[in-house]
Symmetry: D3
Subunit: 253 residues, 6 copies
């Protein structure tokens, strides 16, 4: 499919945005997409709404009674920064707290500013439903609402508005329960080693390393099946996405 | 989005298949897509399962008591052939009768042969639900089942199987009632005049000419909105499609 | 709501059609609607596709080893005829067998003839899904397909085609499992006694008499709630329907 | 269909309420319904939650650097007031800001007061989902929550509670993406000229005039199709609605 | 089905939690489940988020002009306490007001504390959708969010976290409109008399006594049908539930 | 959850039925369930509707030009029989052909006979939707229709009818596309080695061995998460199922 670019910066470099509820989500779920687009020359930026300090840091909390929220946040920030460096992307921490994540209008407008400055061709975030984690759909909701406001000429008039960046949901943990249906597969075979290194930065969640390796292999099989067994291309690892916005194109194949 | 080709004929020319329940459906609903892909060098082929002689030829039947099924079929075939010539595609008539359309396994295997010979990169057919016209979802069902069988090595062993052609549903008449959601818009502005000429071959359904011109304009507005208002590209006419199969790609924007 | 009539016989009497998979379904599920419309001057006609002789006649089969299919069918026909007489409607038996119900094109065309002769303003049949009884959705499917063909000028050209009779699904047994959502409630309080008498004709299914009385009471409460508690009208018994076709009206209240 | 009135004011005049997120929405989407009901003697009232000053006033903002929010709001208020005058309805502005719209409990209770004073037979608002505009579903949510509270005897005890006004969603911009399915069509042919005049008050959105004329024509074709081609009534323009609440009626046709 | 216990207290007694938006909901909708589990040795606890003083106390408000919110709340508290005593469960009142119910983070954390202290094997609350009552889905939302936070090691580190208590939605008023599908039926025949006594504590809603008796009878018929007519067990009364969380088991029958 | 048995043979041994479209499906998708229930004393029986000779035997067909349908069927039968022996279940081959599978009423009645003879407590088959393989949903459809007929007293009167065996859909290949949502997880850790041996009988589909090992590991992680991390039970491998029929139980936890 030859898609008509939705970017407003067709002549210059393209960019992409990832809105991550907790500071490790972008690695497990979109690390391959980030690395692959960096290789293609995209400027990629991650916004972490929280550090996941309460809900996704069990191993750190079990280290002992002298553990504090600040220590957990520092450890999580370091892991996420290292992973971002490996993937080659920028990262910005909003530090909004998790379990529960709450996003004020002020924080939402800060995300609008990121959209306006970055002018992304696409944005990745969580599934719109997740009965196991309410922080996740809230992150997607905010990513969508900030996108809408970034398009409005009446918000901070005079600033350059954004076009219509594609919105895609990356893979949640229990996909079927989240009504997440992957309609887009990205071949991440060429950047798999880099994604794995980024994954290995997540020292506090070592039990998930093999889990997400298997996810990448299964999605690789599925991607290959959807290209057709007679294709000469060899896909081993893939990431799945649920594209939420329509595609405008010049060719349907 | 740079999509990984699903065609098995990457080096040679690509092709596309349209499965039309009645002999005029392909014009109203996919005429722009056919013309646009012909311009891009695709070999495009339409299979008309019936002539729509009972259900979609009211004007012909009102011509008088001496009208017969054979006369209606002949008139419909001529119109469809002329439209196909204008669009630049091949056309094959299965003549299976309509209202109700019934498809034997023999007819379905004939469609499998078309798949094998054509090796299409994509196939277009009706929406999977249509409470106003049961011939339409049946056509899509057959298009999908024939595709599956065309992929099987055990069907006519030794023949070249097909890869994984993308399946897209073109626009039905009452979209919301048909649970048809357009996730793909094709810019048909450059070929609109040709589509309109093909539409005007349908002498028996003149009341639909303006109707489908308005459809193209409305989808054009929607396509433009999804590219972003800041885009320099000007889309006036578009066709909408519901892509049923996942896309495998190298870039998400 | 003041609805624009869909009947083609606006000046003459209106009529309604009920397509019942088994010979008792129309009584439990639409007996109130039949009686209420008869009172309003409608010509009401029921088509029973089968007698329900295998699947819904357990009590008769338990009467002893000398019971035969013919005896069961005769008993079921008698019950249904008596119920129809009480409700004031015509009834026609297609005798297609049940469990499983299978409908040939010939039988479907016979139903088309009924549509053409009756020219109904609305048609009632089963829900489109029923995981507990596949005969039911098939009856609705046939009711819809026959309606579509009855509208086609090319079917038996010269005959008077039908307009766009409203299609409504009456209440199935396990509503939520059948994805049946009642969007229309008919007040049957004035004809309840007649419906109850018709129900009591079903000697073979006595255990359902109280069951369907409770159904009518519960739907009555729900109808009343949707009219508003301040309404002066008193609804005690109601039937629920899922309207499948859009309404065209001159007033929205 | 002869519907049982849900109004508590059966003997006096009926009324209807429209809850509009931005100050132009009621014109594009429900202007025909407003004019048609005014002609039938209804008292019609529009509540505009915001002026759409940020998100739907692009043309005004492009007029120059000295444009201010207050100037935009004044211009929008004038346009809306003129449109309301043409349609013959009352209008009240809540001035809650848009992009994003936020509705405090205080504002919601103000809407409850409107319900109690107006005692509407039906209320029109936006679709419950709209991925392109989060202000829209919020407006419907508030319209529904205020309706529920207006029904409660414990809210401002002693005041006259409302009955069960029908709730309908008017047409959103990208209907299929919004999961909006029109189950009710209102013939607006007799009032089309008035709606068009109201539309032409929206000087800032001139590009939408032809767009919504085409919408009205397409819905007119669809309405006509659902009445039946043999109907003598001629429908040219229509508005579609998704009725959210069940109908209670005395006749099903 | 032999289910693997989700309780963390396998050797000690099990417990269950009911989160009720208003102070009578737990009686109508889960009174049988509460009584049945108490009989099986469970510790059962109800949390009433509000007294339903505004929205579900019409009869009390009609007693006269000197009725006050405080008087209504006291009456409702007494009724609920008596019902809880009859059912054999604990009850805690959060007194958050209703119509509309609003739940602060502080109140939500209080519910987290209840989870941590109770360590329930399952939690019952309202359906996730209810267009007639927005307090109900909010109660379920809070029940789910509090459960998620109670599972997080970073919330009040050092406290015992909860396991994965099953989440089930009890029966709403208009089930089909609420998209509530009962996939679990509990036989409450042995405790029916106790549930009825608890129901009769609700002096202010006497019109619902017979209504909910019929609900229990209808669900009893449905439960029996799903066990199979040849079963020797006799079920007369049942409650239906929609299980939201997956079951982990050792046997599928 | 302590479930009320749906079996009619409560005092004797229980049994379970698996309806497999092709001769290997039961191994990949339900091999663990079969082995686990055999260990618990169930009589387990598999019905293979076809050998999958055309659609799922690519490796065999690639062996050379002298391969025939009969040879493929023999090889597939041998593999399936060996796998059944390892799992400890009975197996019966209907040999109905695949790609496309077509099931005559005669074949369906043969399956009814199996139900009547086996009196299963539960039946496992494919998902009700599968856009990649139309044989699969047809197998489930037949499994459900045969179950319904086996319950009817009027089918072969005098025979023992079946009760209400639970219906569960085992895991399809692309779960999200098939709208398959696992609501039931079976711990197969104790029988994993046996399932793996059965898998290794499928010499023609060696590429799937690792694939399905990963499936079992991922479902194991998910099952463990739904039991709760504090559970002492260790689940490593699991199978997921979508239970289609309601459960009737005495306890909700």
């Amino acid at each position: 499919m030859t898609t008509i670019s939705t970017s407003t910066l067709a002549s210059a470099g393209k960019s992409g945005l990832v809105v991550s509820a907790h500071s490790a989500d972008f690695v497990w779920r979109a690390g391959g997409a980030i690395a692959a687009h960096v290789e293609r020359g995209f400027r990629m930026k991650v916004v972490c709404l929280s550090f996941g300090e309460r809900g996704e840091s069990a191993k750190l909390w079990r280290k002992g009674a002298d553990m504090t929220v600040e220590k957990v946040k520092t450890a999580r920030r370091d892991e996420a920064q290292r992973a971002a460096d490996i993937l080659g992307c920028e990262i910005e921490f909003f530090d909004l707290s998790d379990y529960p994540l709450r996003v004020s209008d002020e924080a939402m407008f800060r995300l609008v500013d990121v959209y306006r400055e970055l002018q992304p061709a696409f944005v990745l975030s969580h599934s719109t439903k997740d009965p196991y984690n309410f922080d996740h759909p809230l992150a997607m909701h905010v990513a969508q609402e900030a996108r809408i406001i970034a398009q409005a000429e009446g918000h901070k008039p005079g600033e350059k508005v954004v076009g219509a960046p594609a919105v895609l949901a990356f893979e949640p943990h229990q996909t079927e329960q989240c009504e997440w249906i992957p309609n887009t597969f990205l071949d991440i075979t060429p950047v798999w080693e880099r994604k794995l290194k980024a994954i290995e930065c997540m020292a506090g969640q070592e039990h998930l390393w093999e889990y997400y390796t298997r996810v990448a292999l299964q999605r690789g099989v599925q991607a290959k099946r959807n290209v057709g067994i007679t294709s000469i291309r060899d896909i081993k690892y893939a990431e799945g996405f649920m594209r939420m916005t329509p595609t405008v194109c010049e060719e349907l194949s």
